[in-house]
Symmetry: C2
Subunit: 201 residues, 2 copies
């Protein structure tokens, strides 16, 4: 058990080291604030109306964050596989009730950081201000690109783009989840998959 945890923490530490350099003491302190959580397929770690207390790093497995709208339709705002963070971001940073579900798509191992621990961490080790700034900036740039794709491309182009950029993800997530991420119906995605749309080639 301890061995397994060591491996998980080491992976996260390596991820952190890509952005900031910590002393051994700082690393130990950081790790002391974390907790490891295993979630089964379909289990939710965040639900609407509850305040989201954790930011979760995916060590293995995969997760998705989605909204259920007033017509009972699902809309996926994010996937997370290894080395990505996931949470209901709005709920987490403002500590207000969530609107999203965050659910495991398969058996998943997470490393979770509590909101209060995160605040404390940034005060105690200011380098983490930098760390969270950098990863948030990257997430923002990523999301802006996605927004632009959704504004400027057709469903088919969005599908092609996703397949090129994230072939791994497309194989691991259910098709209805991918459709709701790309902003199209499952039926239409199915047609695209079996390219019964444009007979260009």
């Amino acid at each position: 058990m301890q061995n397994e945890h060591t491996e998980v923490y080491d992976t996260l530490k390596k991820y952190i080291a890509r952005h900031i350099q910590l002393t051994e003491e700082e690393e130990r302190y950081f790790v002391s604030l974390l907790r490891i959580t295993m979630v089964k397929k379909k289990q939710c770690i965040v639900q609407p109306d509850f305040i989201c207390r954790y930011r979760s790093y995916v060590f293995s497995g995969s997760m998705r964050a989605y909204l259920i709208d007033s017509n009972a339709q699902e809309h996926t705002i994010a996937f997370a596989i290894d080395d990505w963070w996931i949470t209901d971001y709005t709920s987490y940073i403002f500590q207000q009730p969530a609107t999203l579900f965050v659910e495991a798509l398969e058996e998943t191992v997470l490393v979770q950081l509590d909101y209060n621990a995160e605040q404390l961490l940034m005060e105690t080790v200011p380098k983490f201000e930098r760390f969270f700034r950098i990863i948030t900036q990257r997430s923002f740039a990523f999301l802006q690109q996605r927004m632009l794709s959704n504004l400027s491309m057709t469903a088919e182009q969005r599908y092609e783009l996703f397949m090129n950029k994230y072939p791994q993800i497309s194989q691991r997530v259910p098709q209805y989840a991918l459709a709701s991420y790309l902003g199209m119906s499952t039926e239409y995605l199915s047609k695209l998959r079996n390219n019964r749309i444009s007979k260009k080639s």
Copy 2:
């Protein structure tokens, strides 16, 4: 002239003070890194293929950032009026060639921070790591909400939402810019404006 600049810097300093507390010396240092730029209507401060060197704070006037796609269609990714920052974010943070235009919608006064100056600022005054973390987190949460709106709402609902949330902006920007922000054609926006769509009321 000096008076005018003082007013501009004071507004920005007040904005900064909402998130971090600076000493007078830090404030002076910060201000020394800034420059004020006036832009005329339709003038672009960022263009595709050029690296975006500045982050711009809007003191007065209004700006928008947009993409021109392969069909020569415009897609607005952001507006900025007083107290907002604007830039081609991806180009700025990665210092890579821009893909967007950032254009003045009216005569506008900007305060600009150079990329290298920003890096230096964060090293010299680490509080700014915190400042940029916080504003980036808020921008991210905002963009995620917008992404969810675009995935889950109809054109009409998006229009209504925007009008409720940003009545000031809708009056100041041209209709084609708003349509391209909301992800619909100008013709359809025009129909919605004169509500010739749903005869519910």
